[in-house]
């Protein structure tokens, strides 16, 4: 009962935040909407016992990534007004119609169709997926150790690439 209540509230908050990202004219408002969605999704993670992932979501996304976005918005400036006219005829109508059709179809199949979570239908064991640090660390450092090491390399490359791209070379006069 509590889970259902929290889910409804957080789902509404997540959708509202996502809509803000798309609709807001000012990119700062978009960033704030994204922040709301990220927090709501983190709460939904906790609701599904993914504690470590929720914490990482808050620290990495809401902490680091969003700050980076706000820095770049400040750097670029927010006063540039965006063109709102349609380059392709009926662009928005077609996209909105497609979106509604996909949502209705997918939601209908998932919720009301003859669809089953094969093992979960009989035994859904929440304790098996209680994502504490210890529980997630075991597969992370045994089965996925190679991928884990590869992410270290990836992050180094990304940092070096970002520095190379954003490095300001003053023109030789």
């Amino acid at each position: 009962m509590v889970e259902a209540l929290v889910f409804v509230v957080m789902a509404a908050a997540a959708i509202a935040g996502a809509a803000t990202v798309v609709v807001a004219r000012n990119p700062v408002y978009s960033a704030m909407g994204l922040l709301g969605t990220l927090f709501s999704v983190a709460v939904l993670y906790v609701l599904q016992l993914a504690h470590l992932v929720a914490a990482v979501q808050i620290i990495v996304y809401a902490g680091a990534v969003l700050t980076l976005f706000l820095f770049v918005i400040m750097l670029i400036g927010v006063d540039k007004s965006e063109q709102r006219d349609e380059k392709l005829p009926h662009q928005r109508t077609i996209v909105a119609g497609l979106a509604i059709a996909i949502v209705l179809f997918a939601g209908g199949v998932t919720l009301f169709g003859d669809f089953d979570w094969v093992p979960a239908a009989t035994v859904m064991n929440p304790a098996a997926t209680n994502g504490t640090v210890q529980a997630v660390a075991v597969p992370l450092f045994t089965d996925w150790i190679l991928a884990f090491e590869a992410t270290a390399l990836l992050l180094t490359i990304a940092a070096a690439g970002a520095i190379a791209l954003a490095h300001y070379r003053r023109r030789q006069v």
Partner: protein
């Protein structure tokens, strides 16, 4: 315990909203935020599916997606900044040199 289908449906709605934003907006920064939105929707499906199937590997996959998304944001924002330095705009309509 709620049916995982509800989480999946929410993730689907979030993904659709992100895809809509990517298609409709012209500001490169906002388009980038929409990509993050879609990544988050996919993460939510992975967590729900992992719980429904009693498998912890779903959470491990989300962990890796978070790392890759962070790296992608760092490089992508650096590209946007260097394009802005060159062209003084963040609108993707103005960047059409590569058009065939």
């Amino acid at each position: 315990m709620i049916d995982p289908g509800w989480y999946m449906s929410l993730a689907g709605v979030l993904f659709i909203i992100g895809a809509l934003g990517l298609l409709l907006r012209r500001n490169a920064l906002v388009m980038f935020m929409c990509i993050e939105l879609m990544l988050n929707a996919v993460n939510l499906t992975l967590i729900s599916a992992g719980r429904a199937l009693n498998d912890l590997n779903g959470q491990v996959a989300v962990f890796f997606i978070l790392v890759v998304a962070a790296a992608e944001v760092v490089v992508g924002l650096a590209i946007i900044v260097s394009i802005f330095r060159l062209r003084s705009t963040a609108s993707v309509d103005e960047l059409s040199e590569l058009r065939g």
